[in-house]
């Protein structure tokens, strides 16, 4: 069904009456990253318009160095990362003023080591991940206070071994992905209690085979990414029942339209399509390129960049 998924992504945004597309303008840069990455994983990146996208990204970099979700929107670390990821796929980060990107990211770090998302100061471990992932792709991890950054992320480790968005926040699979990804890039995975966290993560698997994000919540195909990638990073991916998960992910496909939904029968979108395909890649699906569990990008791209974030065994 991969061709159907590729067709879905290639056509996304070109349908005339697409209100959903308009409404998601505030995250357009991430939307493009999701679309391009899943196309690359399926070996179909060439179907996308590299020039148009590069021009778009260039117009989204602001004077402060940060990148916005779309033209006329304000810069934010989320979209700065997405922009750098996209340009890395194309081996063309110099479309942006890289030094200014680095300055922007550096400027978001707070005294306690945490990172704000933008000048308005929201703190979240998601942004710690975005900051180091951006800098890792640009080869500029030296720009921030890494010790302090690590200290803050570790302060978000909870009694169950998981991580939340700020110290004390409930453990959540999405945040756990960001924190384990962060610690991988920072070379600090040994600070994780891998057995305890691995158990919490494999507890996400429900009898249906799908994964949820926290205890007693519903499964969602995007957790096939957040949970599975985290398990891969900490060396415990085999603690998931792979064949049951694979069945669940495949059941989230829409055979008519292509694409994946959050759970079987729901509407598809590019976000869940990427994470469904990336999850299948982690499970060893032959026709999909290997995906890097830390950066959610094709391994061959990171190979080209010489990036090998740590994984526990």
């Amino acid at each position: 069904m991969l061709d159907k998924h590729a067709d879905y992504i290639a056509a996304y945004g070109s349908k005339k009456d697409d209100y959903e597309y308009t409404l998601s303008e505030y995250l357009r840069m991430s939307g493009i990253y999701w679309g391009l990455t899943v196309m690359d994983l399926m070996g179909q990146l060439t179907r996308m318009n590299q020039q148009e996208i590069s021009d778009f990204i260039k117009s989204c970099q602001h004077d402060c160095g940060g990148v916005s979700a779309s033209i006329g929107h304000d810069p934010h670390v989320l979209y700065t990362l997405s922009a750098v990821q996209i340009l890395s796929l194309y081996d063309n980060v110099n479309v942006l003023d890289v030094d200014k990107v680095v300055e922007y990211v550096r400027g978001l770090q707070q005294e306690d080591g945490s990172f704000a998302g933008d000048k308005w100061g929201e703190i979240d471990t998601r942004f710690s991940f975005c900051a180091v992932a951006t800098l890792a792709l640009l080869g500029r991890l030296d720009a921030i206070n890494m010790d302090k950054a690590v200290e803050f992320v570790l302060s978000c480790m909870n009694f169950d071994g998981g991580f939340g968005c700020r110290p004390g926040s409930e453990s959540h699979a999405g945040q756990i992905y960001c924190c384990t990804g962060f610690l991988s890039i920072a070379g600090q995975l040994h600070q994780v209690n891998a057995d305890l966290l691995g158990w919490w993560l494999c507890e996400r698997q429900l009898p249906s085979g799908g994964l949820n994000g926290r205890p007693e919540k519903l499964p969602d195909v995007c957790y096939s990414w957040w949970v599975l990638a985290s398990l891969k990073i900490i060396g415990r991916i085999h603690w998931i029942d792979k064949s049951k998960l694979r069945s669940f992910i495949l059941a989230c496909q829409d055979e008519e339209t292509g694409g994946f939904a959050d759970r079987p029968g729901d509407m598809v979108d590019p976000f869940h399509t990427l994470f469904g395909v990336a999850g299948l890649s982690l499970l060893g699906e032959g026709q999909i390129k290997d995906v890097n569990p830390v950066l959610c990008m094709p391994e061959d791209v990171l190979e080209r960049l010489g990036l090998h974030p740590d994984l526990l065994s």
Partner: protein, 339 residues
Amino acid sequence: CPIHQCPSNRKEWADLEPVPQDDGPNPVVKIAYSDKFTDVYDYFRALLKNDEKSDRAFTLTAEAIELNAANYTVWHYRRVLLQALEKDLREEMRYITAIIEDQPKNYQVWHHRRMVVEWLNDPSEELEFIAEILSQDAKNYHAWQHRQWVLKEYKLWDSELEYVEQLLEEDVRNNSAWNQRHYVISHTTGYSDPSILNREVQYSLKQIKKAPHNESVWNYLKGILQDRGLSSHPGLLEQILELKETHCSPYLLGFLVDIYEDSLENTSGDQVEVLSKALELCELLAQEKDTIRREYWSYVGRSLQMKYCSDDPSTTSSAPETDRGSASVSVHQETTCNS
């Protein structure tokens, strides 16, 4: 709700040149928007471009938010205007209250509320408001983060444990509430006082009796005891073994394994019995009670075997695991060391 007139139809906007959507130099797509959406956002872009700071701009942000509350740039601009125009922040609190009621699962609205509370330096409405939102969805992650911030920033701990208990009465499986319990106690009395620790242990056991298949309570129990050692809490093993008869679950069995493991780690003397029980449980979990996680339980069994078996480990089939996922290595042969 009064009939809306698009800005382009309103006299007071006549001086402004609306800025159409720009999808980039070579737009591949021709997007059709609803008229009102197009209009409001065209004018919003014009205001941004001119950096206009006026009441009409402020009013327009509300319209833009109504059409798309996730648009973070509009929220930024609204905050700039709130300050530049010295708007009534109490009124803004009423506004953001209504928006959050309508769309409680959005990052921007909660961050906006936090900023207004900070500017006013007045948290007096917060706990009640958040409780109201949680009454609609008791696991709303944003609401909980906001609540934790309010509690810590303004030191409003007094009634929080009571509130948590109320929520757990309503749904003992609410993981957010268990997390909050840990948060409150950690920030107030802490767990080092033995009477507090025991209170929490007994509370947890009581909740387990009510709903044995509840991951959260078991995580909590383990979480509060693991630093001191599960096997060192007086009478706990006996209580768990008692519960096993009437309120068993995979979580209980797993917890027993944890107690036995802690005992093996921290007690001297004859370990064979304890190890044997632990291995038997791992086997039971892997083969029957929690088969979806058989790889995990096999791993635990093998690890215990390797660490505590007094015989040469190579006489048992406990080869270290690689990351490729295992052929199922049965724990069966490993329930004793004397193979």
